[in-house]
């Protein structure tokens, strides 16, 4: 299909992709990783463009310009929108695979070159590509809150989805046996598109991060399937790297939540009715921004625990101001980032990095927990489940066994949230009723703004 020069360029490109992933493992080599990956991509595209089979560049140029025109603004979204961008990008990846599969099918059908093997891999490519396309779009919509983030469930849902997939795969097998039954092909495409939607509908907003990693894996596998169709080692290798990395990330996240993969994908866990009623009956100590400023500035050490609420409120820049104020007063400030806090894996880290908080201030859960008893103030910002001690103590709790950040062991706890409403898991948090806990009610961004004003002296004015 392609000449030796092209194949050589592809080989180098694959090597560069591997190096890129290796360099991505540490922040100090990560920038180099992007450079390597971009170089690999340029070599691969260049190698393709010089191959003699390409007779016209008109459509390519047009499509590429359009792609760049959309890609550049997509790269400029605020960082809180990174999750939905990722979903969108997976949808586009799946779409490309699906389109190529469809085109190849009709091309081979017309030429009479549709062997059984080719039909099988094309069917695989089209099914994977199409379900990733619609699944990614829907995930993106849920993450962007363009639609309800609640799980949309109905009775027998898993069975319906399953039957649909079986029908699509069955038709694919039939087509493989008899590739001339071309009427079945559009049905396969349609079913795959619908299946992508059904796959995502029952999954709640807070489970989306894990789902996004899974979709990454599907998008990679679509590229692999395309590689089988086009007989391209490069596509297979690059797709497999993407596919396995998405898979490993999902596993890491599931472990950090102490949940099984099937539970995330089919569980529709955390429905709202689980909210406990007795919330109001217990007493809660509420504090003001003035109290908080006082406590924080007098502490030796402060550990800030950001959660989903900080991301939603986009409070990271205010947090940075707070960090500056406290650091100026000689307070030792660290950030304890729980692996599943935020809206996607590692999201809290990116948000804090966006606000220029040096990454050596970010401490992982396992490293901060032994220190917690010596910490003066634990400041929880819009986090809930990741600091719920029930995970350690209450065997009946739905989050029992999930590793948490031991905020309750700090001398004083200050928690910023808007109400006593529970978090994603829908369960009460005893920490907020504890003697050493002060609640600071309000939107994270506004409240921290107030605290910072107190500290900088403006509040007194």
């Amino acid at each position: 299909m392609t000449g030796t020069v092209t194949e050589t360029l592809y080989l180098i490109a694959a090597g560069l992709f591997i190096l890129a992933l290796r360099w991505m493992s540490r922040p100090d080599t990560a920038r180099r990783a992007v450079a390597a990956a971009v170089t690999g991509m340029l070599l691969a595209v260049g190698g393709t463009l010089i191959s003699p089979e390409i007779v016209t560049y008109k459509w390519i140029a047009l499509a590429a310009v359009a792609g760049i025109a959309l890609g550049v603004p997509l790269a400029r979204v605020p960082l809180t929108a990174v999750p939905e961008r990722t979903g969108l990008s997976q949808a586009f990846g799946g779409m490309a695979a699906g389109l190529v599969g469809v085109a190849k099918y009709y091309l081979w059908l017309a030429d009479g070159q549709l062997t059984h093997f080719r039909m099988a891999v094309v069917a695989g490519e089209v099914i994977l590509g199409c379900l990733t396309a619609t699944g990614g779009l829907l995930a993106s919509a849920k993450l962007a809150e363009w639609m309800t983030t609640r799980p949309i469930t109905y009775r027998g849902q898993n069975i319906v989805s399953f039957v649909l997939l079986v029908v699509a795969a069955g038709l694919g097998v039939w087509l493989t046996i008899d590739p001339t039954q071309s009427w079945a092909f559009p049905i396969v495409v349609g079913l795959a598109l619908v299946f992508g939607v059904l796959l995502i509908l029952p999954i709640g907003g807070a489970d989306m991060p894990t789902v996004i990693s899974f979709l990454n894996s599907y998008a990679g596998l679509s590229a692999v399937a395309m590689g089988f169709v086009l007989e391209s080692k490069l596509l297979i290798a690059a797709g497999a790297l993407d596919g396995s990395s998405g898979f490993v990330l999902s596993i890491i996240m599931c472990k950090a939540m102490n949940r099984s993969v099937t539970n995330v994908l089919f569980g529709a866990f955390g429905s709202v009715q689980a909210v406990a009623k007795r919330a109001e009956e217990r007493t809660v100590k509420s504090a003001t921004a003035v109290d908080a400023a006082e406590l924080l500035s007098n502490a030796d050490s402060v550990v800030i625990i950001p959660g989903y609420g900080m991301a939603v409120a986009q409070a990271q820049h205010r947090v940075r101001d707070l960090y500056d104020q406290l650091a100026k007063r000689g307070v030792d400030v660290k950030f304890a980032v729980h692996p599943v806090a935020g809206r996607m894996p590692g999201h809290m880290n990116v948000l804090l990095a966006e606000a220029d908080i040096p990454y050596d201030r970010l401490v992982e859960m396992d490293d901060i927990n032994p220190e917690m008893p010596h910490v003066g103030v634990a400041l929880i910002i819009g986090a809930n489940d990741v600091v719920n001690p029930a995970a350690r103590t209450d065997e009946k709790s739905p989050i029992y066994g999930m590793p948490i950040i031991d905020a309750d062991k700090a001398q004083t706890v200050i928690a910023i949230k808007r109400s006593m409403n529970p978090g994603f898991a829908g369960i009460e948090n005893d920490l907020y009723y504890a003697d050493n806990t002060l609640m600071l009610f309000g939107d994270a961004k506004a409240v921290i703004g107030d605290v910072v004003k107190q500290l900088s002296g403006e509040g007194a004015a």
Binding site: P27, V34, G67
Partner: protein, 98 residues
């Protein structure tokens, strides 16, 4: 350069193991940019799309190919740019202080 099925499976297996081993080592700090980078890498699908749009054997293929080029180029451009943008934010320490 035809690629037979077993060779293709060989490459697939090796790359899958490799991906798993590399990713497991990535610092948690970088999971978000990692995801956008692998995403961008999988936009290598552009290579297949280019062939279709460039060979232009018939109208349908050309159009589908061009659409696929568009989708992958979007991915490619936005994926690399945003990864780089995120990574630029990771600083060990600020220059002025400490």
């Amino acid at each position: 350069m035809k690629l037979d099925l077993l060779t293709a499976l060989f490459v697939f297996m090796l790359a899958t193991f490799l991906g798993m081993d590399i990713i497991r080592r990535v610092s948690r700090l970088l999971h978000t940019p990692l995801m956008s980078l692998t995403n961008a890498i999988s936009s290598i699908a552009v290579v297949g799309a280019l062939m279709l749009a460039g060979e232009a054997p018939d109208r349908l293929t050309t159009w589908l190919g061009a659409l696929a080029v568009f989708a992958s180029t979007t991915n490619l451009v936005s994926g690399y740019l945003i990864t780089d943008r995120m990574l630029r934010m990771f600083k060990r320490r600020e220059a002025p202080k400490s």
